[in-house]
């Protein structure tokens, strides 16, 4: 692995103001959606982010895509802070970081032809001629396993899986270095899911793009990712190599996730123990360790101090007082 990470996120925070009082200019509370996270993504690597709804994974994606300005922290892309980019540098960043969303039905404009959908980033970022753009569109369509002669059709003529391929083709059209995959297979049928997962893995092997893969299904995230970050209420609670995390989960929340995962076959040993309770609202984050109200191993100082992310074994980070 190269030493210089493609993307390095440092101390990233995003607070959304909430106005409960009568005075619109007075912010009474904050939703701490992302509350200080650090991670890196290297060239050609997939970082999986897993967590339940409200854990901040989607906000993280929005921050990396510069759809929202962060409250605090840096997003270093190739060594420069993307949050401070302006003008043509910002444009270059937007050309190198793309996204594929979950819903293949709402992610393609219903009134645009496939050719125009895929070509849009090219029209914005390059000075290519019409025919050169057409060539590139055909090229990426072939890359994702679509017939280039389908380019004149409209999105409603395609099934969910094909639409997701179109979305992937679009994200690859420019000189893309990093693709944020926001639950790209959750909206698809089982048989189509495997097609898309395999396609994404092949594309990575072929083109060397990096992925930030956001998901809630442990098996899919583990399958896709080289390293996995487990998020809970706006913080990363555990970060490790995918294999290591699956074999040796450390944080009680990660263990709970594994316990809750569905068995691959009915013969598998099933754990009836599941953690109780639900994820609290990001409006009232419990003091101390965020997980302490649901944690089966809770100790007294868990509700007093907040644990730091510590390296418990090489490349395996956990934030828990047990370690």
């Amino acid at each position: 692995m190269t030493t210089q990470p493609l993307l390095e996120v440092k101390g990233l925070k995003k607070y959304f103001p909430v106005n409960e009082g009568m005075l619109p200019w007075k912010t009474s509370n904050w939703v701490r959606a992302v509350d200080g996270i650090d991670f890196r993504i290297f060239e050609g690597e997939t970082l999986g982010v897993i967590g339940e709804s409200g854990c901040g994974k989607t906000t993280t994606a929005k921050l990396v895509l510069l759809q929202e300005p962060p409250t605090e922290g840096e997003i270093n892309f190739n060594g420069t802070d993307a949050t401070k980019l302006k003008g043509s540098d910002l444009k270059t960043y937007r050309g190198s970081v793309q996204v594929v969303f979950q819903d293949p039905f709402s992610s393609l404009s219903p009134r645009m032809r496939i050719r125009d959908i895929i070509a849009e980033p090219l029209e914005i970022h390059t000075e290519l001629s019409r025919s050169a753009i057409d060539d590139r569109v055909g090229e990426v369509m072939r890359l994702v396993g679509l017939q280039p002669d389908m380019a004149t059709l409209f999105p409603h003529e395609f099934s969910g899986g094909q639409r997701q391929r179109i979305a992937i083709a679009r994200s690859l059209a420019t000189e893309t270095r990093l693709i944020v995959l926001d639950e790209p297979v959750s909206g698809l049928d089982v048989s189509i899911r495997a097609q898309i997962i395999n396609l994404l893995e092949e594309l990575q092997a072929e083109l060397g793009v990096s992925y930030l893969f956001i998901g809630h299904d442990l098996a899919t995230v583990a399958h896709m990712s080289h390293r996995i970050a487990v998020m809970y209420l706006g913080k990363i609670v555990e970060l490790a190599e995918s294999q290591e995390l699956c074999e040796n989960p450390q944080h009680p929340y990660t263990r709970a996730l594994f316990a809750a995962a569905l068995p691959a076959s009915p013969d598998e040993e099933q754990e009836d123990e599941t953690i109780a309770g639900e994820v609290p609202s990001a409006l009232n984050i419990p003091p101390g360790c965020r997980f302490n109200p649901r944690c089966p191993y809770v100790m007294r100082h868990c509700s007093e101090d907040e644990p730091e992310l510590k390296e418990v074994s090489p490349n395996h980070f956990v934030s828990c007082f047990l370690y």
Partner: protein, 308 residues
Amino acid sequence: MVLASDPAPELSVPAPLSATRTLLSARLRTVREMPLLAVAIISILCVLAVFANVIAPHDPTLPVENIEPAFFAPPMWSEGGSSTAILGTDFQGRDVFSRLVHGSRVSIIVGLVGTLVAAALGTAMGVLSGYLGRWVDTVIMRITDAWLALPALIFAIFLATLVGPSMWNIVIILGAVFWTRYARVIRGEVLSLREREYVKLAEVAGASKVRVMIRHILPNVMNTTIVLASLTIGVVIIAEASLSFLGVGVPPPAPAWGSMLAEARPTLLTGRWWLTVFPGLAIMLVVLATQIMGDWLRVKLDPQLRNL
């Protein structure tokens, strides 16, 4: 109840292969399902308006010559009517039928162009307001609020007295009066479109705000605009007739259905029914037809109702 929701049947309809064929047959079906009466009325009106010079037997602004009686001749099938003036003549001896035919021109031009002005202005405002948000939204929406608070007709009369009566002024006035409806509805639509993933994708790809509005938002609100427009044409035609009736519309002696009604008003109680019935009937039929068309379009262009 548990069963209260309405699950859609699991019908998958992909099949991109036969796409062109299904499109063609869908078009044919569309033609077959059109409301016939409304289409007929609208096409007749269009023919009348375009070929008014050919169809109208007399000059609409001059008295008919060689007719007995010289004024207030009844329709041809009534006692004392003559075939020279099929629908009779008015107080100046002008042919009612010719005036109706030429009046359809006014109605159609004002109805269409007025609606077009209103739709264009309103849609543009709605898209700007909904997509840009913040202070742009606040300013445009406060203006529409103020606009909507004024009674449309009185506001139109006020504007008409300011700029003076002429057909093109009426067009602009009606456009200025009715754009707020579009702005309101379109803004609401844009607010939901703005959150769609394809809009987000375009933003992530670095598309400028203008590009997003033109390429991604505008095409997707066009259906709504078209439906709204087809429903407002009738209202605009009535508004034009009202203005003409009140004497601030198309200036005499140019024929307009509203002014024909106004001119016939003093003679209402004298039994000269043809002077009011025919223009009134014309207005009613046209408005009815456009409303039916609008309603049909609304169902046709609504993707949720379309596939039933």
